[in-house]
């Protein structure tokens, strides 16, 4: 015999609007073992909590059922209440009558009836609940940050400054990310490299940061507080311990590869550092461009290297790192605009994508900072086309958020470096940020022409060979315009990295329809994910500019710190156990467990479960054909009783 107390919450009108709450409480009082049933306006408020605590004492309750919002919201609140009143916290059951009932119907009959069924099931289950004891595990104090762009760099530095050890994993041979490619940053127009490279260098110098460039995460095991992450160090063919960064090899190398840093506008060597301020400033060999790897002959770099650092035999190596929390900051790609044939990217040499233009402005870029077309001439008229692929039902519906602002920046730089006429083709100008509107107004005054209308097509000019015609509807005048220009800049949609799906799979992250990582809650938990201990920062979550990215990175660092700052961590007591008498040794549990908790005891011929690894997901219990696995708090008896209660109603 148990003594159950049922507490029904109105949640103001959130619940009471579509469920007759007093009728529900009345119904609950008729159920077996229910000693007291009450309803109240806000059960989570202090008077509500005190009511529960008081009734536990007064009626000697040993099971509490709270019919209210999702357990994600207030399960912990009510567990605290019963714990303070002297009950085991696993003896409280939350029945979600808000998200799962009142918010999904307008029909009060339907709502009340479903709420009764759920409550009936919960009472049946509650009678069979048993007290459980939480476990405490050691927490690994280190953090891994994935992605060495500005988000990853910032998060790593913040964490390292608190004294925590950070592993910064970057798949390219240098950190810096996209920000290293920019020339100036809006709206202040300060030089991107000038503000970024000190941070890159700080990462390299920081004693608490282990920099892992040219590395990729290949496997993730474990759980919050204790992740075991396998990292692949891709073969660089250069021993970085021996290399003294004299870069003689990069001078002699005859190989030609495409410079990723310069967006493919120029070639680089096969043995290379991506750019002069790269961190670490030591070269790697691009296998696909290396004459030795292609033809089997050359090895010039090996000959000129006095340090004997070149090692053509180098293989990929794997290492495992133990960390307590992970920050994913994998950034973005720009959409490939070639398939949008109407804009002629890749067809007309005068059409550039935004990142290519960043490189043209840059003094370390392919033109040493001079704005010239591919034929070396200075452009006379330039059109900047906004929203290419974004805000577009045929491609990506989302706004890429930064294009308006960088297009203004481009306009300013074009005006500064050329005498060209500059035209902006925009749908809406969006400048919501500190100093952004002011920047917009400043550019308007710099004689930049704004045409409100999305660029529809870029065509070859019939009259002037080599020039292009931008076609668009000026929606302010309603006129269709054809504008001759000799340079077109496309602002393509920002999309998740091409390999972000792999990252999502490795870390069990959900993604939105575009592939951006989903946060746990868009407002209240924007940096957490549904995988505990994994945080996200920067554009991998959604398009954003540098200030927002840095703010997120700092936030994610603080979130990660909340985990690794503790020595011990409480784990849910809801783990699985094996009844050896029933185990048929099929080992299905071992195959399905994502945490590696079950193992096979050869001696006894049965499976056993390492409870320190078990997260209580219940997969093993559900695949066990002999029902030998008991998922604590969700035992077969408890679940079947709940189903019986649901079906009965």
């Amino acid at each position: 015999m148990s003594r159950i107390g049922v507490f029904v919450c109105h949640c103001g009108l959130n619940i009471a609007k579509t469920i007759r709450v007093s009728e529900l409480a009345q119904f609950a009082s008729t159920l077996p073992d229910v000693v007291v049933a009450k309803d109240y306006k806000f059960m989570c408020s202090t008077p509500g909590q005190e009511m529960i605590a008081g009734d536990i004492k007064e009626h000697k309750l040993d099971r509490i059922i709270v019919a209210a919002c999702s357990p994600l919201m207030h399960e912990q609140t009510f567990r605290k209440v019963v714990e303070n009143a002297g009950l085991n916290k696993y003896l409280v059951t939350i029945v979600n009558i808000r998200e799962q009932v009142s918010w999904v119907t307008h029909d009060i009959e339907e709502g009340t009836s479903k709420a009764k069924a759920l409550l009936n099931g919960a009472v049946y289950r509650a009678r069979l609940l048993a007290p459980l004891t939480s476990r405490f595990i050691d927490v690994s104090p280190d953090v891994m940050v994935i992605g060495g762009g500005i988000a990853g760099i910032q998060a790593a530095l913040e964490l390292a400054n608190t004294g925590k050890k950070v592993y910064l994993v970057e798949k390219n041979s240098t950190i810096g990310g996209h920000m290293a490619q920019f020339d100036k940053t809006f709206p202040t127009l300060d030089c991107s490299a000038c503000i970024l490279t000190p941070k890159m260098d700080a990462v390299l110098q920081h004693k608490n940061i282990t920099l892992m460039t040219y590395c990729e995460v290949t496997e993730v095991k474990g759980y919050v507080g204790n992740f075991d992450i396998t990292v692949k160090q891709k073969a660089r063919y250069v021993d970085h311990d021996k290399c003294n960064a004299c870069l003689a090899c990069t001078e002699k190398c005859p190989g030609k590869g495409v410079s990723e840093w310069d967006e493919g506008l120029v070639k680089r060597k096969a043995i290379y550092i991506p750019f002069p301020q790269a961190v670490p400033q030591k070269p790697v060999i691009d296998r696909d461009a290396c004459t030795f790897f292609i033809k089997g002959k050359c090895r010039l770099c090996e000959k000129v290297c006095e340090q004997k650092a070149i090692d053509f035999e180098q293989q990929d190596t794997f290492s495992t790192v133990k960390v307590g929390a992970v920050i994913v900051a994998t950034g973005y790609d720009l959409m490939n605009t070639k398939p949008l044939v109407q804009y002629g990217y890749g067809k007309y040499p005068g059409v550039y994508s935004a990142l290519e233009v960043e490189r043209l402005f840059n003094s370390a870029g392919p033109t040493s900072g001079k704005v010239t077309l591919r034929d070396g001439k200075e452009p006379q008229a330039i059109a900047i086309l906004h929203c290419i692929g974004s805000r577009d039902k045929n491609n990506y519906e989302h706004c890429s958020r930064v294009c308006c602002m960088y297009s203004l920046k481009f306009a300013h730089l074009f005006k500064e470096k050329t005498s060209a006429d500059v035209y902006q083709f925009y749908i809406d100008m969006r400048a919501p940020g500190k100093g952004y509107e002011e920047f917009y107004n400043r550019i308007i005054e710099e004689d930049v022409k704004f045409i409100r209308g999305k660029g529809a097509r870029v065509a070859e000019s019939a009259d002037e060979p080599g020039r292009m015609i931008v076609e668009a509807e000026d929606t302010l005048t309603g006129k269709f315009i054809k504008l001759p220009v000799d340079m077109v800049v496309l602002s393509p949609a920002m999309i998740p990295r091409s390999d972000s799906k792999d990252i999502a799979r490795l870390f069990n992250l959900s993604t939105d329809k575009y592939g951006f990582f989903m946060e746990r809650h868009p407002k209240l938990a924007p940096l957490s994910t549904m995988s505990e201990g994994i945080f996200i920062a920067g554009v991998c979550q959604s398009p954003k500019d540098i200030p927002d990215t840095v703010a997120q990175a700092n936030g994610a660092a603080a979130e990660a710190l909340t985990i690794v700052v503790k020595d011990k961590m409480e784990l849910e007591a809801t783990t699985a156990m094996v009844n050896p008498a029933s185990c048929c040794a099929c080992q299905n549990c071992i195959r399905v467990c994502p945490y590696g908790a079950p193992f096979f005891n050869e001696q006894k011929g049965v499976s056993e479960i390492n409870e320190a690894l078990c997260k209580g997901c219940g997969l093993c219990a559900s695949v066990c054909p002999a029902s030998a696995i008991i998922a604590r708090h969700f035992t077969n008896d408890q679940v079947l009783a709940e189903i019986e209660g649901l079906m009965e109603f």
Binding site: S582, C586, Q587, N588, P625, N636
Partner: protein, 288 residues
């Protein structure tokens, strides 16, 4: 070419003698004399004097892989397998119930095996319709080639014509006849749980007496537990004293599994059991 059963029997005896005498195995799982020719029995050969009792004829349909899990881990066993039976061995190795190195597989390439009750040939009708073992160490006879290849799923044609309601009525009618003798479970090489879910009392998953609800619970759950694992030997149907065509359900599930996951049960040791193995490229059809 027809199958020379006598020759297979002789080879089986020779190999069994050799293996036992050389001490390579302590047990040979084969077939022995029953009370008449049509009812040979599963036979466990432990010493050379047992060998004369070995028989092999067209009625030796029993799947000896059923008995592999009875012996302690590490027991060295030689096992005579027909083509379908060899798939059971492979499946058991996949499921780590037996170790490949503990087994010597005596493969029997064969077709034209018969149902002892009806006398009809079972080849692709109630078994999987392959003629050569997929795994063996010693082959007792020549590999079979040139026999017509018939899909094991052809027999489903009439069954698949039934709609959902039709199938439900069909199975309710068939399964209502079940007397709960559990011969299907005993004959099945993949049914090795002890205790079986249906024998459990806490929770009680289904009624144990032969009545409609409990019968459905037992059989539907058993079908489910065998999804992606049934190697289509058809022994459950032949063991059934009331002739419930269990093979139809198993074949249908096997067919869907094969279409969905691109692998049939027990064909390759390297495969993993389809339903407890996650592959990125797996079909999501199962969720629809």
């Amino acid at each position: 070419m027809s199958i020379n059963f006598k020759q297979i029997e002789d080879k089986l005896k020779t190999e069994a003698r050799k293996l036992l005498e050389e001490g390579k195995v302590s047990i040979v799982l084969a077939y022995g004399k029953g009370y008449d020719e049509k009812k040979p029995m599963p036979y466990v050969v432990r010493k050379t004097s047992d060998i004369e009792n070995i028989v092999f004829n067209e009625y030796c349909t029993a799947n000896m892989a059923r008995y592999l899990v009875r012996y302690p881990r590490g027991t060295k066993i030689a096992i005579a397998v027909k083509p379908a039976d060899s798939r059971a061995v492979v499946q058991l190795i996949q499921e780590e119930k037996v170790k490949r190195e503990d087994l010597i597989v005596l493969g029997i390439p064969v077709y034209g095996m018969k149902n002892f009750k009806t006398g009809e040939t079972i080849d692709s009708k109630t078994t999987c319709g392959i003629y050569n073992p997929v795994l063996y160490d010693i082959l007792l006879g020549e590999e079979v080639h040139g026999q017509p290849v018939v899909s094991p799923y052809d027999v489903l044609v009439d069954y698949e014509k039934m709609d959902k309601d039709g199938r439900w009525t069909f199975w309710k009618k068939e399964l209502d006849r079940c007397i709960r003798c559990y011969a299907c479970r005993k004959a099945c090489p993949m049914c090795y749980c002890d205790p079986c879910f249906i024998d459990q009392n806490k929770p009680k998953w289904g009624e144990k007496s032969p009545e409609s609800q409990g019968n459905l619970m037992y059989h539907l759950t058993r079908f489910h537990h065998l999804a992606g694992r049934c190697i289509d030997c058809g022994e459950c149907s032949r063991a059934c004293p009331v002739d419930i065509p269990l093979y139809l359900f198993h074949k249908k599930v096997a067919k869907e599994c094969e279409e969905m996951f691109g692998q049939a049960a027990g064909m390759k040791i390297e495969d993993k059991p389809a339903l407890v193995n996650f592959r990125v490229e797996d079909s999501d059809k199962i969720l629809e």
